[in-house]
Amino acid sequence: MNFWLVLAINSVTLGGLLFLLSAGFSLIFGLMRIPNLTHGSLFMLGAYFGASLVLWFHVEFWLAAVISGVLVAAIGAGIERLLLRRLAGAELAQVLVTLGLSFMVADLCLMEWTGDPISVPTPPGLSGAAHFARLAFPAYRLAIIAVAVVVAVALWLLLERTRLGAMIRAGVDDPQMARVVGIRVSHLFTTIFALGAGLAGFAGMIGSPILSVYPGLDQDMLPLALVVVILGGTGSLLGSLVGSFIVGFLFNFGQALLPDLAYFVLFLPMVLVLALRPQGLFGRYAP
C-alpha cells in the first residue's frame, strides 16, 4: 500500500515539475509553431543559475528561483529576437537553429560549471520528511505540487482574463487573422518566448534539489516535455496540465514496475497520438 501511495505522490510531483517546464513549450509551439528544442537547455540553464545563486551568492532559495526565471526569460527573448525572428516562416530552419543552440548552451554550461553534478540543498524548513498518518513523504516534493498549482492558476488567469491572454489565444487560433485585426504578433512572439523560457528556467531551479544539476539534464528533460505537449495537445494549458500528470505517472510507475521498458512505455503513447490523433487530447490543431 505504502509503495503505491509513495509512487503516486511522486508522480504528481514530477507532473507538477513537468507542467512548469512544458507549459512554456506548449505556448511557444502553439503560438509560434516552433517546437523549441532549446527548451531542455533553458531548464538546465535556470538550474545552474539558481544553484550558483544559492551556493555561491547565498541568495535565498525562492528569490533565487525567481531571479533564475527572469534571467532565462531575458535569454529567451534574446534568442527569439536575434535568431528566430530572422527565420520567420521557415519552420524547419527554426527547429534546426533551436537544436544547434541546445548544443551550444549545453557546452557553455559545461565550460562554466564543469562536469561534476551540483547538489542544491532543499530550502530550510522543507527538508526532511513530512509525516501524516504513519506515512513519511519528502516535504519539498509536496511544496513543488503547490507551486505548480499556483503557477497553473496564474497562467490560466493570464490567458483567460487579460488582454494579453486574449491576444495569445487569438494568435494560437489563427495568426493571420490576428495580424489583420491589428495584434502586434511579432511582439507577442517575443513575449511568449520569454515567458516560456522563464517558466522553464524557474522550473529548472525549483527541480534542482530533487534532480540536482548535471550535464545531460537538458537531454533528460526535453523528451519528457515533448511527450507532455504531444499528449496534451499544443497550445492548450489544460492539455499541458493533464499531459504532465500522465507522463509523471508513466515515468514513475514505468521505472518501478517495468524497468526494462521504462522509456518504451513513455514514448509509445506519444507515437500513437501523433499517428492517430495528432492534435492530442486538448489541442486545437495538429503539429
Binding site: 509513495v6 509512487l7 564543469t114 561534476d116 513519511a136 545531460g216 539534464l217 521505472q255
Partner: protein, 413 residues
C-alpha cells in the same frame, strides 16, 4: 551547377586532407632522453566526474612532487576525458595509443569502460593500470598487460558481506546499485559472502547510472533489516539524501565509493552511521598517507579519498617499476613483469603486492561515518588484512563459477 560546386569542394577538402596527412607529424625519436608518456583516461563529465577529477588530482600531485621525473626520465602526462561511458573510453584510448603513443595508460575510472577497451589495449600491448573494478580482467578473461592496485569490484565487498553478517548481525537485506558492471560485481561479492554466513539478499534494485530521482526504487524498500548500496561518483550524495528524505532509517552498508572520504564534506547529517568497506581509509596512520593527504591539501585544497589515493598509489607503482627497469620501457613484456613484481610497504593504503593475475593483495578497511569536531569523517572500525581478489575463497573454486552479474548469484527463492 550545384553538383559542380560540390565536386570542387570535395576536391579541395581531399587536397587539404592530403596536405595535413603528409606533414611529418611524428619525427623519429631515440629511446634514451625521450620522455616517458603517461596517458590518463578519466571522467570529467557526468555523475562519475567527481571521482574522475580526483583521479587526476591524485596522479598530478604525485608527479608534481617528483618534479615530473621518474627514474631519471622526464614524464609527459596527457589527460583525456572519456565522458564516463564505454564509447568515449574507446575513442580516447585510441587517441592515446595511436595519436599520442603513450607508454602507460592509467585508468579508466569505470568497470564498464575498462571492459570495452581491454581487448583493444591488449592488442597494442600497452601496460594499463586502472582502479576500475571489472573483476574478469584479472580472473576469467585476464589481460596480461593489466595491473590493478586498488581492488576488483567485489574485493572490498567480500569483507563487507562478512562484517554485515557476523558483526552487524543483519539477516535480510535489499541491495540497490547502479545498473552497470561495477554495480553488479560489488553486489555479487557482498551477496556471496553474506549468504555464506547466514544472511539473505531479498531483492536487488538497479537504477541506471544517471538517475535523478531514486524514489521509485526507495518505495520498494520494506520488510528488511538493512540496505546495501555501492553507488559511485557523486550518486551516493543524492542517494543518501533521498534515502533520509523518504523517512527510511535502516542501517546502510556501502562499498568503496559509497562512503568515499572525499565526499564526506558534501554529505549532510543523513550520512552519519553509514558503514563502508574500502581499500583506502583516510585515518590510516603512516608516513605515506600523511604525506599524500598533505600534498592534496596543498595542491588542490581537497580532502583525500579513494579515487585520488588510487591514482597516487598507481604513480608509486609506476615509479617503482621504472626504477627496476632503469628507465627502459622499450620491452613491453619486461615492463609489465616489472609492474607486477612491485611490492610496497609504505603507501597511503598500507602494504601490498600483486598476485599472479596482476591484481592487488592488500588491506580492506571497514569504516563508519561519524561526526567528529563538527564535521563528518570516516572512522576505521575493523581492518581485514591481506585480502586478495578471491578472499575468502580458494582461487580454483571461485573461478569455476561465473562472474558476478545482474543475475549471479541468483536470489534464493
Amino acid at each position: 551547377m550545384r553538383t559542380t560546386l560540390n565536386r570542387r569542394k570535395f576536391l579541395l577538402s581531399t587536397a587539404a586532407g592530403i596536405g595535413a596527412g603528409a606533414l611529418p607529424w611524428r619525427a623519429a625519436r631515440a629511446q634514451t632522453g625521450k620522455p616517458v608518456r603517461i596517458g590518463l583516461l578519466t571522467v570529467k563529465t557526468g555523475p562519475l566526474a567527481s571521482g574522475g577529477v580526483q583521479m587526476e588530482q591524485g596522479i598530478t600531485a604525485f608527479l608534481k612532487d617528483k618534479d615530473y621525473t621518474l627514474a631519471g626520465r622526464k614524464v609527459d602526462f596527457i589527460s583525456a576525458d572519456t565522458g564516463g561511458n564505454p564509447a568515449g573510453a574507446k575513442t580516447k584510448a585510441q587517441e592515446l595509443i595511436e595519436r599520442d603513443e603513450v607508454d602507460f595508460i592509467l585508468g579508466p575510472l569505470a568497470a564498464f569502460e575498462l571492459l570495452a577497451i581491454t581487448q583493444y589495449v591488449e592488442q597494442h600491448k600497452t601496460p594499463m593500470m586502472s582502479l576500475a573494478g571489472a573483476d574478469d580482467l584479472t580472473q576469467r578473461k585476464p589481460n596480461p598487460y593489466f595491473v590493478r592496485a586498488s581492488a576488483t569490484s567485489s574485493q572490498a565487498m567480500h569483507p563487507m558481506g562478512h562484517y554485515a553478517a557476523t558483526e552487524m548481525k543483519l539477516k535480510r537485506v535489499i541491495t540497490i546499485d547502479e545498473d552497470f558492471a561495477f554495480g553488479y560485481e560489488q553486489i555479487g561479492g557482498f551477496q556471496q559472502v553474506f549468504e555464506d554466513n547466514g544472511g539473505r539478499v531479498v531483492k536487488k534494485l538497479w537504477p541506471p547510472l544517471v538517475t535523478a530521482d531514486y524514489t521509485p526504487y526507495l518505495a520498494q524498500i520494506s520488510d528488511v533489516d538493512g540496505v546495501v548500496q555501492g553507488f559511485a561518483g557523486s550518486n551516493p550524495l543524492k542517494f543518501m539524501k533521498q534515502y533520509a528524505d523518504s523517512g527510511l532509517k535502516l542501517p546502510v552498508c556501502g562499498g568503496e565509493t559509497a562512503g568515499d572520504d572525499a565526499l564526506l564534506p558534501h554529505f549532510g547529517d543523513e550520512a552519519i552511521g553509514l558503514i563502508s568497506a574500502c581499500p583506502y581509509t583516510i585515518d590510516l596512520d603512516n608516513d605515506a598517507n600523511r604525506k599524500f593527504k598533505a600534498l592534496l591539501k596543498r595542491d588542490y585544497d581537497v580532502v583525500a579519498g579513494f579515487y585520488a589515493a588510487g591514482l597516487y598509489v598507481i604513480g608509486m607503482v609506476v615509479e617503482a617499476a621504472l626504477e627496476a627497469l632503469h628507465g627502459d620501457t622499450s620491452d613491453k613484456e619486461a615492463t609489465i613483469k616489472a609492474l607486477r613484481a612491485v611490492n610496497l610497504k609504505d603507501t597511503p593504503r598500507g602494504s601490498f603486492h600483486f598476485d599472479d593475475l596482476g591484481n592487488v593483495v592488500g588491506n580492506v578497511f571497514i569504516r563508519r561515518v561519524e561526526k567528529v569536531g563538527g564535521s563528518l569523517t570516516n572512522v576505521t572500525i575493523k581492518t581485514y588484512e591481506n585480502v586478495g581478489q578471491f578472499w575468502p575463497y580458494d582461487e580454483k573454486a571461485y573461478l569455476a563459477h561465473p562472474v558476478y552479474s545482474r543475475d549471479y548469484p541468483p536470489l534464493k527463492s
